[in-house]
């Protein structure tokens, strides 16, 4: 399987460790084999410009066309042009993260409702299966 996601200037990454978990950021420059310089931009994702280790980030499929060391305004422009936020929200990855978050936030009553809904769903399926036979 060839690599399709590369660490490069303009790559959108998802931070998965630390206080900024779950936020997207753009790679603005590469420091060395272990860390890179990222910038949200702050207005869009809430991530400040900082150096972050590769162990704390995951590469996504999205890239924006920016120059190395681009300013926050330039990155913001590139983001709106490429409509990254919309593509990200529509992706299966983002939807899975969202559903995991929602499941963890369920109350006991919500979990009961889920259980009842699952039972209803499987009852419908079982009835259909019986009709088909």
């Amino acid at each position: 399987m060839p690599f399709t996601r590369y660490m490069e200037v303009g790559r959108i990454v998802l931070i998965n460790f630390g206080p900024l978990t779950g936020k997207l950021a753009t790679v603005v420059d590469i420091v060395d084999q272990n860390k890179c310089l990222i910038d949200g931009p702050r207005e869009i994702t809430g991530v400040d410009r900082q150096v972050i280790s590769y162990t704390r980030i995951e590469l996504t499929d999205y890239i924006v066309k920016i120059k190395k060391n681009a300013r926050a305004e330039e990155i913001k422009e590139a983001w709106t042009e490429a409509d990254i936020l919309a593509s990200w929200e529509a992706s299966a990855w983002a939807k899975k993260l969202e559903s995991k978050k929602r499941r963890r936030a369920l109350s006991d009553f919500d979990r009961f409702k889920v259980m009842v809904a699952k039972k209803q769903k499987s009852a419908i399926i079982a009835k259909k299966m019986a009709e088909l036979e």
Partner: protein, 183 residues
Amino acid sequence: MTVSGVMRQYQVVGRHQPNEEHPNPEAYRMIIFAPNPVIAKSKFWYYMHQFRKMKKTTGEILDCVELVENYSRVVKTYGIWLRYDSRSGTHNMYREFRDVKLTGAVSQLYDEMAGRHRTRPRSIRIIRTAEIKDEDVKRNNPWQYLGDKVKFPLPHRVVSGKRGQKALSSRTFAKNRPTTFFG
């Protein structure tokens, strides 16, 4: 000295204590890398004692101020000339580090010297530091990351078990082997 965490850069200015003969002795300024101002001042005397006839008891420190990097939004390559003691002698060395701040590069230096040469911080004397332009970078490793077209995948991503939270699995048993390929 013990070096934990990040090094800071201090400007220490000191001179001989003034007396009737020399009411206004010449002041000397040094740039010292140290974790805190106490060690910075101590290092100042260590060096001054070597270079001039001046000691802590015969001198006075006029100023010890931390120098803060004014442009830490861009990655730069720093060259550091140092002198260090190995087990069998003392040597000069030149190393290059990529970092956003000079103090970050110096911290990297101490960590790397400890890792590669088992040099303790007490055995390292920094002679000179400079920001190196891309054309003048000499060492292979920083040279790889210069320019606009740096691009590489992150192969064989191993999730560290030391991190606790995101390590391996939240469960004791998992039904699938972990994957190290993330595109």
